[in-house]
């Protein structure tokens, strides 16, 4: 197979005007990407016999293709070499070759991801003249050919004429329109041509498509070249491109980029090497110029970007640290596929964001507080550090003392068992640690040398820091969540756009999970895919059944669904009531002296109830949904939605009941604390704690009082977090693991065991678990500042616990959850719960009065003091200009325009998206009409064949 045939182009002048001429000469080029027409036949003379059989059976064919590759083209690299040798002899051929090289080369390297534009340019320069020549030639001719005539002539031309043109053979070999496997294309097309000549019309269609695609790809790359480094002469031709060229653009959009990138690594390496040497030459040249003349030489240096790239590379290497646990992922993906791995991806992401929040808290809350309490603990036992001697200071002082006395009282009486209990409950001595809000002082001091002297920066306003840190954490979290979910939101939108969603194509082309490397999972996955298809088929039947439902059946079904929904609501209501009652009961019983176990149980009652409900109710939902006869997908979805609702509203109910008990009561009792009147004559509102009780006698236990409601709330969330931690861990170790052991021992003998089977790893519910624990962290963060740390540890631990569970304890997930869908769904849940929590905390910070007895906000500045006043006070203390600026943001004058701008931008984006939708529709239509063009052409070909205008190389009509 000699590729170095002499091939000369006609002079451009010859073909410029006259149609026939252009047919004779010009086609040879532009249409020569179809040299398969030619090649297929000419090769019959020159090629080994094996090739000749190409058209007959597909098997032989493909074998041949491979043989060809082996024997002749091994790699393009080698071809290159050959051309190098051939250069002197085949000049015009060589220049053509260069053009192609460039076409492929410049961008091919670009495909490597890092190689950049300057490569391309340099490359282009070297070969510019050749390219130019070639281009001129091509363009001139293509002006004459429009639309269908173009095709018809082209085909006719080829069929009639091609056989004489031995020279064209393999010209196309270099043209590599599709990818690096040049020769496959060629052969494929070649045999198509054969079939066209002899029988198969079907093939003709294919050829036409190829013709078109090739034409476009050439045109595209030539355009690229043009814009890349074309000389001014080329510009002339830009305008000459026929108008009909432009309407095909959408078909090209994706194709060439991919094609250009699809060069094998070997080729790209060769190119890279060439480029490097070219660059070297260029640099030397440049340097010599530089020596000659320091001014007037401007050059786009290829060096700097390279260096930058390296820096960028190191940076991204460093960022890879964030992708820790990758071998863990490999194992999980290998065993269970991507969908399950998304759960772990999600967990890892939570580990990251918790760590971030932890860092913030560490820097701005923990460390300052720690410094303060270690340095000043002896001097400032009351943790009030105020220079102001107003009425509020006095109140705070009294309340704080009362609270710390109360804590001291309790702590003093503690036995060892109590201590243990207190660790679990967050009461007693634990309450007076950094774990809870109440411990934090309102002002931290770093004093100057003299006790009285205050130097700049000697204040650390703990209240402000506390508020701002929590605020900043929420903002950072919000950005992170939004960023993370925006990646997936597009997919979700696409997913919900059911009409356009190619369900089957997705299942076929995206069905296989390339990560899987375990034998079991592979078989399992194949089974799942099979089942999915079957389920789809079932669903079609189901749909038919649905349509055939009689009115009676339908109303019965709706009645059933209605009943079940009612039941679900009742169930939810009952659960909520149970939680509410439990918190109430807890407050009541707190006063009583109880034994250790009972006290523990009662304290943990709400948490236990929540855990138990979480464990059982989703199962009930699942069973219920099966009865409802929804479609498969919908069944899963509605179960999850119900479970989410249950889980998140439980937290909501808890918050509401806490609010009711701690705050609403106060409103009802109209701020009087009769018992205190004597004790604190000046103090109203019971130090901000309506549950404040004064013991009748000093000996009486004070357990029932809440002297710092923030800490009390913190304790509840602390308990919930601990209970959640314990529940998940124990469920794995004490329920699922023994079940596994029993199952593996007894499954052959006891039937019940085998029917019960193993615990299942139900992905959405597992995710819900972890979202729940994250939600707890966010709600409780304000009241239990150490909660981010606890959650960080917890999530970290869960990652490995769940991996262990998945690998050794549970059954493989039964349902084939779509990776993308589930991931975005989790994100959405997280976002929703986050926003709700942020709203709640915002309300609290802006509306509820903090305790005077504890915490960083204990010193009021007015009777209506709320936590947010810390910020406003700070702003008020600023000089007038910055103060006014900040205040301006709070006024209507700012808010109204801002609101309008927001509205406008939303409208703008909405309109753009509508525009895109419309555009998409149009493009689709265009694609379709293109296709019809093709079919029209086909009809013409048919016509031509029927008229007997096609001749074989013997000049006999078919």
């Amino acid at each position: 197979m000699d590729r170095r045939r002499v091939y000369t182009y006609p002079e451009p002048d010859n073909i410029s005007g006259d149609y026939d001429n252009s047919q004779d000469g010009g086609y040879a080029d532009d249409a020569a990407y179809d040299s398969q027409y030619v090649g297929g036949h000419t090769r019959q003379d020159s090629d080994p016999p094996a090739d000749y059989e190409l058209g007959n059976s597909p098997h032989v064919r493909s074998n041949n293709i491979n043989n060809n590759n082996n024997n002749n083209f091994g790699s393009v690299v080698r071809d290159d070499d050959r051309y190098q040798h051939a250069e002197p002899r085949y000049n015009s051929r060589e220049s053509d070759r260069h053009v192609h090289d460039m076409e492929e080369g410049g961008v091919g390297v670009g495909g490597g991801g890092r190689a950049t534009g300057h490569h391309y340019e340099r490359h282009g320069d070297r070969r510019e003249s050749a390219a130019h020549e070639w281009l001129r030639h091509r363009r001139t001719k293509s002006q004459h050919l429009n639309g269908y005539d173009f095709y018809r002539h082209q085909i006719q031309y080829h069929v009639n004429r091609g056989f004489q043109h031995d020279d064209d053979d393999n010209k196309d070999g270099v043209d590599n329109h599709y990818n690096s496997r040049v020769d496959n294309d060629d052969d494929a097309d070649r045999r198509s041509v054969q079939s066209l000549n002899f029988e198969d019309l079907k093939r003709a269609r294919q050829i036409l498509a190829t013709v078109r695609v090739r034409r476009k790809s050439r045109k595209h790359s030539s355009r690229k070249r043009r814009s890349g480094g074309a000389s001014s002469d080329d510009e002339d031709f830009v305008d000459d491109v026929p108008a009909d060229y432009d309407d095909d653009d959408e078909e090209e959009v994706g194709l060439p980029s991919a094609r250009e990138k699809m060069k094998s690594l070997a080729e790209r390496l060769v190119l890279a090497k060439q480029l490097q040497s070219a660059k070297e030459v260029a640099r030397q040249y440049r340097d010599s110029l530089w020596a000659l003349d320091h001014e007037g030489v401007t050059f786009s240096s290829g060096r700097v970007p390279k260096k930058l790239q390296r820096v960028g590379g190191t940076f991204s290497d460093a960022l890879r640290v964030l992708n820790f646990w990758s071998h863990q992922f490999k194992e999980i993906e290998g065993h269970f596929g991507i969908a399950t791995a998304t759960y772990f991806r999600f967990t890892r992401w939570l580990v990251k964001i918790n760590f971030l929040v932890l860092l913030l808290f560490l820097g701005f809350i923990y460390i300052p507080q720690l410094t303060y309490s270690t340095i000043f603990s002896d001097q400032q036992p009351d943790q009030v550090n105020i220079t102001d001697s107003s009425r509020f200071y006095e109140e705070t002082f009294k309340c704080s003392n009362a609270y710390s006395d109360h804590l001291d009282n309790i702590t003093r009486k503690e036995s060892d068992i109590d201590k243990f209990l207190n660790i679990a409950l967050g009461t007693g001595f634990i309450e007076n640690t950094m774990l809870f809000y109440g411990y934090y002082s309102n002002l931290s001091f770093w004093r100057g040398q003299d006790p009285g002297e205050e130097v700049f920066g000697s204040h650390y306003n703990m209240g402000l820091a506390y508020l701002l840190t929590v605020g900043a954490s929420f903002i950072v979290l919000f950005l992170l969540i939004v960023k993370n979910s925006s990646n997936t939101i597009k997919e979700t939108v696409m997913d919900f756009d059911q009409q356009a969603f190619p369900k089957y194509a997705n299942a076929v082309f995206g069905g296989w999970d390339y990560c899987i490397n375990s034998e079991n999972m592979a078989a399992f996955k194949q089974n799942i895919i099979y089942k999915e298809f079957m389920a789809d088929l079932e669903e079609i039947k189901l749909k038919r059944k649905k349509q055939n439902r009689t009115t009676g059946e339908r109303s019965k079904l709706y009645l059933k669904r209605f009943g079940i929904n009612l039941f679900v609501i009742a169930l939810l209501g009952a659960s909520f009531y149970a939680i509410f009652a439990a918190t109430d009961f807890l407050l009541e019983k707190q006063t009583e002296q109880l034994s250790f176990i009972v006290a523990l149980l009662i304290q943990y009652l709400p948490s236990i109830i929540i855990s138990v409900l979480n464990f059982f109710i989703p199962e009930i939902f699942l069973k219920l949904a099966e009865v409802e006869e929804y479609s498969n997908n919908f069944t899963t979805r509605i179960t999850i939605v119900r479970a989410v609702f249950l889980r998140l509203s439980m937290v909501g109910v808890l918050i509401v009941s806490l609010y009711y008990q701690l705050q609403y009561e106060r409103e009802r009792t109209s701020y009087t604390c009769p018992e205190e009147e004597n004790f604190f004559p000046n103090v109203t509102r019971c130090c901000g704690n309506p549950m404040w009780k004064i013991p009748d006698s000093p000996t009486e236990d004070e357990k029932g009082t809440v002297k710092c409601w923030e800490s009390y709330v913190g304790q509840q969330f602390y308990k919930l977090a601990v209970a959640d931690f314990a529940a998940v861990t124990l469920a794995t170790l004490l329920l699922k693991l023994p079940r596994r052991l029993v199952h593996s021992k007894l499954k052959q003998r006891v039937r019940l065991v085998s029917t019960l089977g193993l615990a299942k790893f139900d992905l959405p519910l597992e995710v819900l678990d972890i979202v729940y624990s994250q939600t707890l962290c966010w709600v409780g963060m304000f009241f239990t500042p150490l909660l981010p740390a606890i959650t960080f540890v917890k999530v970290f631990f869960f990652f490995f616990l769940k991996k262990f569970e998945l690998l050794f304890v549970c059954e493989t997930p039964k349902n084939a959850y779509r990776a993308s869908r589930s991931y975005s769904f989790f994100q959405t849940i997280l976002l929703v719960s986050f926003i709700m929590i942020a709203g709640l905390l915002g309300y609290m910070i802006g509306n509820i009065q903090p305790s005077k007895s504890c915490g960083p906000f204990r010193l009021y500045s007015s009777d209506q003091y709320v936590m947010f006043d810390t910020v406003s006070n700070q702003v008020n203390s600023w000089p007038s200009t910055p103060r006014n600026i900040v205040k301006y943001f709070g006024t209507v004058a700012f808010f109204l325009p801002a609101f309008l701008v927001l509205l406008l931008s939303i409208y703008y984006y909405w309109a753009t998206s509508q525009g895109y939708k419309k555009m998409e529709k149009l493009l689709k239509l265009q694609l379709k009409s293109e296709a019809y063009d093709k079919q029209y052409l086909l009809a013409r070909v048919d016509e031509v064949i029927k008229k007997g205008q096609l001749v074989t190389h013997d000049n006999e009509p078919i």
């Binding site: 493909s62 293709i65 491979n66 590759n69 082996n70 690299v77 390297v109 490597g112 890092r114 190689a115 990818n179 496959n184 494929a188 198509s192 269609r205 294919q206 498509a209 994706g254 194709l255 991919a258 094609r259 699809m262 094998s264 690594l265 390496l269 590379g313 991204s316 290497d317 991507i338 696409m494 356009a500 190619p502 369900k503 089957y504 194509a505 997705n506 076929v508 082309f509 995206g510 069905g511 296989w512 390339y514 990560c515 899987i516 490397n517 375990s518 034998e519 592979a522 194949q526 099979y530 298809f533 079957m534 088929l537 779509r818 990776a819 689709k924 379709k928 296709a931 093709k934 079919q935």
Partner: protein, 189 residues
């Protein structure tokens, strides 16, 4: 670490880095994996043209854990091997994992996926290709009617020009709407 220096030259490593989506470390790791497949055939020293010359035969590649269970393993090897036989030199191997890496963009992935699913190498996904793909996917457990049904459904969804096969454009179009693809067309090394 001494190993690092001698396996590839600095120039080679840079070129590999430029042409793939891998960092230096990744490339060396890929090489480790490659060498593990046939330690007796592949030397540690790859500084001359061993990267493109020494080939590991198809049957050994197919045994590799990342590919072993993949129903398309043969196709993958064939598509990525330079000569189409399925035997791979290190550079082919590196290229393969570069395409399957997370960093590779969608269009590259889809271009190779198209090649993989194009069993008869005719640059179109015809019914034959689709049927073969489906059979590989489901271990041949669908009946003939079901296969035909699904194939027709796929064509119905994707074949815009009614020619009963998918061109690359159509394939890419549908892949861009298939959210699963990017997630699943991915092999961790």
């Amino acid at each position: 670490m001494g190993n690092k220096v001698t396996t590839f030259t600095e120039v080679q490593l840079e070129a590999y880095q430029d042409c793939t989506y891998f960092t230096r470390k990744d490339i060396l790791r890929v090489f480790q994996r490659f060498r593990e497949l046939a330690p007796d055939m592949i030397p540690y020293d790859m500084t001359s043209d061993e990267g493109s010359r020494l080939k590991i035969p198809l049957d050994k590649l197919e045994e590799m854990p990342e590919l072993k269970e993949n129903p398309f393993r043969r196709r993958i090897c064939q598509v990525f091997s330079d000569d189409g036989t399925g035997d791979m030199a290190f550079e082919d191997f590196l290229d393969m994992f570069s395409v399957f890496s997370e960093a590779a963009p969608r269009d590259i992935k889809s271009a190779y996926a198209f090649k993989i699913y194009d069993y008869d190498n005719d640059n179109f996904l015809g019914k034959f290709d689709l049927e073969k793909t489906l059979k590989s996917l489901t271990q041949d457990s669908l009946t003939k009617d079901e296969v035909t049904f699904v194939v027709n459904k796929v064509l119905e969804e994707t074949d815009l020009d009614d020619d009963e096969m998918l061109s690359f454009i159509e394939f890419e179009h549908v892949i861009s709407r298939a959210p699963e693809f990017l997630n699943t067309f991915h092999i961790r090394i």
